[in-house]
């Protein structure tokens, strides 16, 4: 592939008190792609997302967003240079993140949640920021919820406000941390629809999830992570239908068994 990937992660490594959380992670996400990152809990998926937003600082390796290094860069002379806090903050809007618990700001209305970062971080005039916020919230079906505070919104609505907040920064890439886990099971279809609608407008997304069914339905490509490493990646259908890595096979079997047990209604749609 000739085009620069929207996200390029190379040799990313992170240790917590000597325990390795990310072990030489390599991952490319190309423009317009939806990549699902799956794996058992504690495998390092969430740590990877936190490193991609520089909420955790990786110990080693590089992150490039739309061709620009984030956090740490290799100078032409081969020296690793750490970026300043300002440089990192300037790049952060490029990576939109939707947290598992959404982390909306409860003292602001839905609209203000979307408007404030635009004015503070991007320096957009308030009128323009409001216009953009209204447009995004309307597109996400929240036209009549803009003046509500987060505590007066349902889980699904909060998530869409969080998505709008991130989109308003015109990010090159959107990260989703377990987008289905804080919602009722019957809302999973709704999340799927929202992510697909983002894909239609060409948004590039990296979705962390432990729900294989969701991953299979939403993603173009799936990467399987275990013990801090990406063990296998490929087109979604192939990964689910013919996993090569034994640990992935185990994981899929385990999840499927649980799923049949808990919730016989949900099956993985691989025929679509």
């Amino acid at each position: 592939m000739s085009a620069t990937p929207v996200l390029r992660v190379s040799a990313l490594t992170k240790r917590f008190h000597g325990v390795i959380a990310l072990d030489q992670v390599y991952l490319d996400v190309h423009a317009g792609e939806i990549v699902a990152l799956i794996g058992p809990s504690g495998c390092g998926k969430s740590t990877l997302l936190r490193c991609l937003t520089w909420l955790e600082q990786p110990d080693d390796g590089f992150i490039e967003v739309a061709g620009k290094p984030l956090g740490r860069e290799l100078t032409p002379g081969g020296v690793v240079r750490h970026q300043s806090r300002r440089q990192i903050d300037a790049l952060r809007p490029q990576v939109g993140i939707v947290f598992q618990q959404f982390n909306l700001w409860p003292h602001m209305t839905a609209l203000e949640n979307v408007v404030r970062p635009q004015t503070v971080v991007l320096g957009r005039p308030r009128a323009e920021a409001i216009r953009r916020g209204e447009e995004l919230l309307t597109r996400l079906g929240l036209a009549d919820r803009m003046d509500r505070h987060p505590h007066a919104l349902s889980g699904g609505q909060k998530q869409r406000v969080a998505i709008a907040r991130a989109l308003a920064m015109d990010p090159a890439l959107m990260l989703f941390d377990e987008p289905t886990s804080a919602l009722d099971p019957e809302l999973v279809g709704e999340v799927l629809a929202v992510l697909r609608s983002l894909a239609e407008i060409g948004m590039t997304m990296l979705v962390v999830t432990h729900e294989i069914g969701f991953a299979a339905n939403v993603a173009d490509r799936i990467a399987f992570m275990d013990q801090g490493r990406i063990l296998e990646e490929g087109p979604a259908r192939d990964i689910i239908a013919a996993p090569k890595e034994p640990r992935l096979r185990n994981f899929i079997d385990l999840v499927m068994a649980n799923r049949r047990h808990d919730n016989p209604g949900t099956t993985i749609d691989t025929t679509e």
Binding site: R92, G96, I97, F99, Q101, W105, P106, P117, V121
Partner: protein
């Protein structure tokens, strides 16, 4: 029994002077006590076991001793260490000391109640640490502080009545003076209680406005259902 407000006619200025001093003392103790409370709370949140132990000792001691005893300890303690101050200053300092323990707990709780994700989401979207503090963290802490701080300030204003026992000429002291002169307890205490009540209502109203300004969460009117409300609600239905 007779009630004759006319007996107070000569004493209103005295009572109002007392009320004015009560307000002054309360405001001074609020400022001093809050400053000390913030300091204690910040120390309590420092890492390690020692800061928590020391501040815990401070807070628990002050909260478990009656204010009137704290007052006497300070009142007799200062001269013991060679410090001689007018009673009003001593009383204000004791009141601030007493309130600081409660304010410290309020501040500590407000800081601890804020989820970590709030600061992180502001940082992740590109806000500088200062912007994140200003736009996201501070408003929420402030909002959590107003209701309990008002409550404590009201409590403290009421506790200031105890300063009468070290002859600080505040409202309660003046009421005892007037009572001694008139032997009209009903009229005197009705008047004095009303003045305190009025001050409390005004402070509560100021705080309600302040709460609205900082956007504190309004208690949601919980009307759950008629059957359960028969037992679980104390709100009379409007007819």
């Amino acid at each position: 029994m007779h009630f004759d407000p006319a007996v107070l006619v000569d004493y209103w200025p005295l009572l109002l002077q007392g009320a004015w001093l009560t307000l002054q003392v309360s405001v001074a103790a609020l400022v001093m006590g809050y400053a000390a409370g913030i300091a204690v709370a910040l120390i309590a949140l420092m890492p390690g076991w020692l800061p928590g132990l020391v501040t815990g000792f401070y807070v628990e001691t002050l909260r478990n001793i009656p204010f009137i005893i704290i007052l006497f300890v300070v009142y007799y303690g200062l001269p013991f260490w060679g410090i001689r101050l007018p009673a009003t200053l001593v009383g204000t300092a004791a009141l601030a000391l007493f309130a600081s323990a409660y304010y410290a707990e309020i501040v500590r709780a407000a800081i601890l109640a804020l989820p970590r994700g709030q600061f992180e989401s502001a940082r992740a979207i590109g806000m500088s640490p200062m912007s994140a503090m200003w736009h996201v963290v501070a408003p929420q802490i402030l909002r959590a502080l107003v209701p309990p701080s008002t409550n404590m300030t009201l409590t403290m204003m009421k506790e200031s009545a105890v300063l009468s026992s070290i002859t600080v000429p505040e409202l309660t002291y003046q009421s005892l003076v007037v009572q001694g002169n008139t032997f009209a307890p009903f009229e005197v205490f009705a008047a004095v209680a009303s003045i305190y009540w009025l001050m409390a209502v005004v402070i509560a109203e100021i705080s309600r406005r302040l709460e609205r300004r900082v956007g504190a969460v309004q208690a949601e009117a919980v009307s759950r259902n008629r059957i359960a409300d028969r037992y679980l609600s104390l709100v009379a239905r409007r007819t």
